[in-house]
């Protein structure tokens, strides 16, 4: 498999500065990123969907993403869908408060005790959703009982959350059957194939497509076009000896 960012769950919090539930969304998300599921999660600042580049907007197409919203305006869910892709899951804190009869949080800079309790509840709910999306089952003590084969053990101590901005999901533009598509991770795939000396031919095209489909949704009716475009790109890449073209 190409050397790419690991398949993790993306967390996009609204972080709403003007509402206590916005602070809850931020703190609960940080708790999952830093303490509860540090190896399984990544994040991106929501406003980067607009202020960032294509690699930022590829976020939810690459990572199954949970949108964490404070209020019913659902900025995180709507921004993710508008700029990147449909979130894999969505959580609205006001709804969770109502469903679980939790206390109403107060405070923006400093949440009150009720707000801290809601942060814990939201973080636990998020961690469960992360496990569900990754197909992990945990014991009562929190140890992983069943997990995907590539998953690692949990780290000791606290991990510092980091933003995925600029960290790079490489995007390549392809012409497929006369229209423009974005192919995630293609440069890394091409590079890996060239390094192991794969020739640019039809047999390699099948293998390339297997790798491409790990990171991209290729509709059945477009598969032949993708295959042709990917092989064309690989042929050019092998001949040039240069790095693959990306959008960045």
């Amino acid at each position: 498999m190409p050397d790419l960012p690991e398949k993790k769950v993306g967390l996009i919090a609204c972080s709403g500065e003007d509402l206590p539930v916005g602070t809850v969304s931020r703190l609960a998300t940080l708790q999952v990123l830093e303490r509860l599921r540090p190896l399984d999660t990544v994040t991106l600042c929501l406003p980067l969907f607009l202020a960032g580049e294509e690699r930022e907007r590829a976020f939810a197409r690459f990572y199954p993403t949970i949108a964490i919203d404070g209020c019913s305006k659902r900025c995180a869910a709507r921004a993710t869908e508008k700029y990147s892709a449909q979130p894999a899951a969505s959580l609205v804190i006001d709804d969770l408060i109502a469903e679980k009869s939790l206390p109403e949080p107060r405070g923006l800079r400093q949440l009150d005790d009720a707000g801290q309790a809601v942060v814990q509840a939201v973080a636990q709910e998020l961690a469960r959703e992360v496990d569900r999306l990754l197909g992990k089952k945990r014991t009562a003590s929190g140890q992983v009982e069943i997990q995907a084969p590539s998953s690692e053990g949990e780290p000791a101590g606290i991990v510092v959350a980091t933003c995925s901005c600029g960290s790079g999901i490489p995007v390549t533009h392809l012409q497929v059957s006369g229209h423009h598509v974005e192919a995630l991770a293609l440069p890394a795939i091409l590079d890996q194939f060239r390094k192991i000396g794969k020739p640019a031919n039809e047999a390699t095209a099948s293998e390339l497509m297997e790798a491409v489909k790990l990171y991209n949704q290729v509709p059945d009716h477009e598969e032949a076009g993708w295959r042709e475009a990917v092989l064309r790109e690989y042929t050019r890449y092998v001949a040039s000896g240069k790095p693959a073209d990306t959008a960045n």
Partner: protein, 141 residues
């Protein structure tokens, strides 16, 4: 007798970046709250940056009609860019990195807990922002 409160429509909007994955983002957010809640509570307000990103009409109208100050935690400058995208120009732009450059002893490591150094950095930044708020208010009066 205390100064009268500015009407909501007349307040300076303090808009920090969301900065969830960077410690400087948390410092910027802390500085914004210091200004809005402690230093200039009667003259300032904030809006959710995510609402601006989503093109919320009411929020966009506020930044177009009221002076705004952007506080950014990283070079992506989400606060500034999103204000500009709403059709407004920030009256001032502050970068957390500039405070760090002037106070390199204040190292901040963690996003969720910026610690004493982070709070100190936020305090310094907040005072600079508050001074800018005063200038904007004086100019208006």
């Amino acid at each position: 007798m205390s100064e009268p409160k500015a009407p909501d429509s007349d307040r300076v909007l303090i808009i920090p970046c969301s900065g969830i994955g960077k410690a400087f983002g948390s410092v910027g957010r802390e500085a914004a709250y210091l200004v809005v809640e402690e230093l200039r509570p009667d003259d300032t307000a904030t809006v959710c940056l995510s609402l601006l990103t989503m093109g919320d009409e009411e929020s966009q109208q506020r930044v177009r009609e009221q002076p705004s100050i952007a506080i950014d935690g990283c070079p992506k400058a989400c606060a500034r860019v999103n204000i500009e995208h709403a059709g407004a120009a920030p009256a001032a732009i502050f970068r957390v990195f500039d405070v760090f450059r002037a106070h390199k002893e204040l190292r901040v490591q963690q996003v969720s807990d910026i610690g004493e150094n982070g709070r100190e950095m936020a305090r310094i930044l907040a005072e600079e922002v508050a001074a800018r708020v005063d200038e904007l208010r004086d100019r208006k009066e």
